[in-house]
């Protein structure tokens, strides 16, 4: 249990007993009792005869220095203790019996709390030692049987050959730039019905077939969207066995057997799109 070290104010002797002998960082203390104990123990004060005025002053100095950095709840805990200290200080100023009775000492309850808290700090220190000792014993299963398997996916390594191959397979720039032919707009729905019809005839279909013949970006985009949409509707299954390899589209049973696909295939717009190839 390390306690925040008392840092002497520069220019003051460490044993200085003035009202503010220590600069303490409030947030390093677990609470007001911890701080009080620090003030008492670090100045070798007799805990049964606490100079309340001095300790109260030091406590308030510490609060002034660090209270605003604390969360509201924690700050409240320190303030509550400060008010307790002030109350005790006031009670001590009242006239007292000739023979002071410990039980009537206004400080008694605070001292009891401090000693009790200090006792549990000691127990906590014992627990800390026991925990450290326990951690030196190891149970079965601690050492892993083999190096942990790589959790990451295989790296997508693309060689120069693969890259060049990919560039070569890119469609030539479409004719629309030079011919000024109006770009035929193509919809995702058209691509979906095209895909549906093509899959009626084939057991599988290469993704390229859906846009390569048109050679324009809108077709490629629409084809991709169509595939994703139909995969989402679980009408098709998409497979790519190696990174950057061909993408294959498979019909799912519903597409072939159900009436849904046929309806789509009969849409006039879809037929038009296919003819445009």
């Amino acid at each position: 249990m390390s306690r925040a070290p008392a840092v002497p104010v520069p220019g003051r002797a460490p044993g200085h007993l003035g009202p503010e002998p220590f600069v303490v960082e409030l947030d390093r203390f677990r609470g007001p009792l911890d701080l009080l104990l620090h003030l008492i123990r670090s100045q070798d004060i007799d805990i049964f005869d606490i100079p309340i005025a001095r300790i109260t002053a030091q406590f308030q100095v510490a609060l002034d220095a660090g209270l605003e950095r604390l969360e509201l709840d924690r700050a409240g805990e320190f303030i509550e203790m400060a008010s307790t200290l002030v109350r005790i200080k006031a009670q001590l100023l009242l006239p007292r019996n000739e023979e002071p009775d410990w039980e009537e000492d206004p400080r008694a309850d605070l001292v009891r709390r401090l000693l009790e808290y200090e006792y549990f700090l000691d127990v906590a220190r014992v627990l800390l030692g026991a925990e450290a000792d326990r951690r030196r014993h190891f149970a079965k299963g601690y050492v892993e049987p083999r190096p942990a398997p790589e959790a990451s996916l295989p790296e997508l390594e693309t060689g120069r050959e693969e890259f060049l191959e990919a560039v070569r397979s890119m469609p030539e720039p479409g004719p629309e730039a030079s011919h000024r032919a109006p770009t035929r707009s193509v919809t995702v729905e058209e691509k979906m019905s095209l895909l549906g019809r093509l899959l009626e005839k084939a057991r599988r279909l290469a993704f390229e077939k859906l846009f390569r013949p048109w050679g324009t970006r809108p077709h490629a985009v629409a084809a991709l969207m169509a595939c994703l949409e139909m995969a989402r509707q679980q009408l098709i299954r998409i497979e790519q066995t190696v990174p950057f390899g061909s993408i294959w589209i498979f019909p799912r049973p519903r597409l072939v057997e159900g009436g849904e696909a046929e309806e789509r295939g009969d849409e006039p717009r879809a037929a038009g799109a296919a003819e445009g190839a």
Partner: protein
């Protein structure tokens, strides 16, 4: 097949502490007392043979663990997450609960002088403490106690392994009355290191 060998095989194959009753399930010839005898015999033989492991008691269970002097070697294999080391606030709170259980949050906070809900939640998440009942009074507050895992985490056999609690109020009155020139007797730190004691279990009431 001697009982020691059966108990040894069971302990060897176990990943956690086993009570004598659990160990006795291995064979009809075994009972809890027989298991304890077997464990004592095993401990002796491991000591004689200078094995790197020993049978340790954690809570009411037994487990084969390495001896502490091999920790530096094993720590090189620190790949598997181990049980967490507890914060100062958690240790302090556990200390209070260990001595005062069953105890409610408000009483804990009175001792510590600070709010303790979050540290109680953490300790519950780590299964160091559990709700053991409800107190009298407003709202029937939850009462907490320490768990078997608490004993395991600190290598304790039972709560007697904690330092003897002082009667704080009594010592205060005495010392205060006597002029209060000395602090209260500090608890003796428990310096044992998971000693595989073979002192009788009867003593502990089993």
């Amino acid at each position: 097949m001697r009982p020691e060998q059966i108990v040894e095989a069971t302990l060897f194959a176990s990943l956690g502490p086993l009570t004598p009753e659990e160990l006795a399930r291995a064979d009809e010839s075994l009972d809890a007392a027989g298991v304890r005898e077997a464990i004592d015999a095993l401990r002796e033989s491991y000591d004689e043979a200078d094995r790197a492991f020993q049978v340790y008691q954690l809570g009411d269970g037994y487990q084969v663990l390495t001896r502490p002097e091999y920790a530096p070697y094993l720590e090189r294999f620190d790949a598997v997450p181990r049980s967490p080391t507890l914060s100062e606030a958690a240790l302090e709170t556990l200390a209070i609960i260990a001595y005062r259980q069953p105890i409610g949050r408000v009483e804990i906070e009175e001792v510590r002088g600070v709010g303790s809900s979050s540290v109680l939640h953490t300790l519950q998440d780590w299964e160091m403490i559990e709700v053991v009942g409800r107190g009298e009074g407003l709202g029937r507050p939850l009462l907490y106690g320490t768990t078997r895992k608490f004993l395991d985490h600190f290598g304790f056999q039972d709560l007697d392994d904690l330092p003897e609690p002082e009667e704080l109020a009594v010592s205060l009155r005495e010392e205060g009355g006597a002029g209060g020139d000395e602090g209260p007797a500090e608890p003796q730190p428990v310096q044992r290191e998971l000693e595989p004691t073979d002192e009788g279990e009867e003593e502990r009431g089993g």
